[in-house]
Amino acid sequence: MSDERKSSPSPTLARRKKDELTAEERFFAASQWELMWRKFRKHKLALASGVVLIFLYAIAVTFEFWAPYGPISEQGLINMRPTRIHFRNEEGKFVGPFVYGIEQVVDMETFKRVPVEDKDVTYPIRFFVHAEPYKLWGLFETDRHFFGAGEGKVLLVGTDELGRDLFSRILAGSRISLSVGVVGVAISLVLGSFFGGIAGYYGSWADLIISRAIEFIGSIPNLPLWMLLASIIPLDWPVVRVYFMTTIIISLLTWVGLARVVRSLLLQLRTMDYVKAAQLAGASDMRLIIDHLLPGMLSYLIVQVTIAIPNTILAETALSFLGLGMRPPAVSWGVLLRAAQNVQNIVLRPWMLAPAIVVIVTIFVFNFVGDGLRDAADPYK
């Protein structure tokens, strides 16, 4: 360091190349996104959660491939407990993953048919198998699945009262449940930016009315209002329409949070000298917003959006759980959880709790990422 100083005693920051900068100078010269990313990377839990999240969404987009069975195809085994996967055969030799065949045996005491493993029949679990045909995104017709046991049944988390594979249904449900979060927040972002933007940018009476409305909607418990709104969805609507209606209903209340953030950020930024300077220089409203205001609030908006998504997912789950949101034949996590509504049902078929765990994990992962982003959004702190 001292040698470098001697040879060039006054190198200015701009003239030197990036790798010649000292740690301190790099800190001040880095762009906002670079700083955010650097800080976020340090938050290991958030980083790991981010990877899990990407993984979850990737599965949701292509669940037909990952699920061994179709979400509504019945497997003939009703209320079946999760299939045991074996690795060693009867002799104790390692032969790779396989499942035994299932026999229905009549229990002599209760006279009920009980499924029992048939040790004489084994089915190896294979990957990239041909099984039930499907049409990915309605475009590509194929019958390739990530794994399967051929004629045997590999039911990772058991089946429901109609004999449908719960694991495949959870994967299928992720498409609705996870996308409701994104679509719902997108809608509320539009609403929130619009109303929050008007309130924060133009101020005066527009601000007064809008912030009153924001305050009021924010003060009423959301769920009863959602229930009220969801209860007017006609029972005979097709799935897609119910999906969008549910999402819109959820957004109708969640936008206020985003609007509040947009409004207060804008009010803050409006008084900044660089914004005033641009205004005096004759920048149009549009230009001012796009060139100066938006970059100033983008990082905070990203944080808010990340926090809003899990809440939206939970809202859909709760509504569908109550029978007011998505409903069969649609498959979402909330719909699946309806089977866990009474305790007798859960005690008899504890595997029906699996969707609850998936929801909890998803919410956690989202919150960790949101937390990491929130820390990272203030890189100088």
């Binding site: 009423i220 418990p221 009220l228 109550l322 305790v343 909890i360 956690f364």
Partner: protein, 330 residues
């Protein structure tokens, strides 16, 4: 201040009017009504329902009159304390009164737990930033906040049944459900109460710890704390007099915002845990198109929200002289 209150009351009144009409109108939207439902039910049982009968039923429920008239009657009834009749035939007043005490008791008990744990832990966390205790409190509150209460409720139900053979749903075991009050019944209630209390309080406690910690940290970094230290004020006294008081102000003031949640903040948890509170009642009312019942619950709740906002504003002005003077100046 008086001027401010009068103005506030005026806008509140308008809000309530708009709101009550909105609720009333939305509840009516689903095609068909309670009479259609009843008729369909009787038809499936093989009954023949005549047109005249339907008309009489409609008139009985007042469904034959235009919506504005019905709204007026409903609101007039509401003002004199008559909430109308549920489609089950019972008076809405009775249905609500039946469940009101448990509902409020559960919510208030949950609140007390939330504040009793949240505030001290939040203060500890902020004053011992980056310590092991802070780290633990932070993690627990984060988990508490992230976990969806009703899912935890479901899982707890199952675990208790599996491990202890206990059915923890509801407020009472079957044998005590309609028994007269006794020590054993009280014991039974307490046994049943702590699970819903835990589920109800876990999220809000986590939230309160985090809010308290963040606001207190914010206040602790302010200049006036150093001024007070430079004066020679002892640390504990300083903490309570300045930053804690300032951090608590908004939290105390927000008590008004909790009012509406007292009635039906925990609908799904209540349904999962089979609690005889108002939340599940609202749910069945909405699915059965029981207009009188659902709109009454929703309106009461919205009134509480409006009223709570006013209470919060007044509290904040009482606690913070800055706000008091700002408003006085208007």
């Amino acid at each position: 201040m008086i001027n401010y209150l009068i103005r506030r009351l005026g806008t509140t009144l308008i809000t309530v009017l708009v709101l009550s009409y909105t609720i009333f109108a939305i509840v009516q939207i689903p095609p068909g009504d309670a009479v259609d439902r009843q008729v369909r039910l009787r038809q499936t049982q093989g009954d023949v329902v005549t047109r005249e009968e339907i008309e009489t039923l409609r008139a009985q429920y007042g469904l034959d009159r235009p919506i504005l008239v019905r709204y007026y009657q409903w609101i007039r009834g509401f003002l004199v304390g008559d909430l109308g009749r549920s489609t089950s035939g019972r008076r809405v007043n009775d249905l609500i009164a039946e469940r009101l005490p448990q509902t409020v008791a559960l919510a208030v008990a949950g609140l007390i737990i939330t504040y009793a744990i949240g505030i001290p832990v939040g203060i500890y966390s902020a004053t011992h930033q980056y310590s092991a205790g802070d780290y633990i409190a932070n993690s627990i509150s984060f988990i508490g906040m992230s976990v969806p209460g009703f899912l935890i409720g479901i899982i707890l139900l199952y675990l208790f049944y599996k491990w202890f053979g206990l059915s923890i749903g509801g407020f009472f075991s079957v044998e005590y459900k309609s028994a007269p009050w006794s020590w054993a019944r009280l014991q039974d209630l307490i046994n049943h109460l702590w699970v819903p209390l835990f589920v109800v309080a876990v999220g809000s406690t986590g939230g309160l710890i985090r809010t308290m910690r963040a606001t207190l940290l914010d206040e602790l970094s302010k200049q006036y704390v150093m001024t007070a230290r430079a004066k020679g004020v002892p640390m504990r006294k300083l903490l309570l007099k300045y930053p804690v008081r300032l951090a608590l102000n908004p939290i105390i003031a927000s008590i008004g915002h909790i009012f509406p949640y007292l009635l039906s903040g925990q609908v799904v948890i209540a349904i999962v845990l089979n609690l005889p509170v108002l939340g599940p009642l609202l749910n069945t009312a909405l699915t059965n198109e029981d207009i009188a019942l659902s709109s009454s619950i929703l309106l009461i709740q919205s009134l509480l929200a409006v009223f709570g906002t006013v209470v919060s504003d007044v509290l904040l002005a009482v606690l913070d002289p800055r706000i008091r003077f700002e408003r006085g100046a208007h």
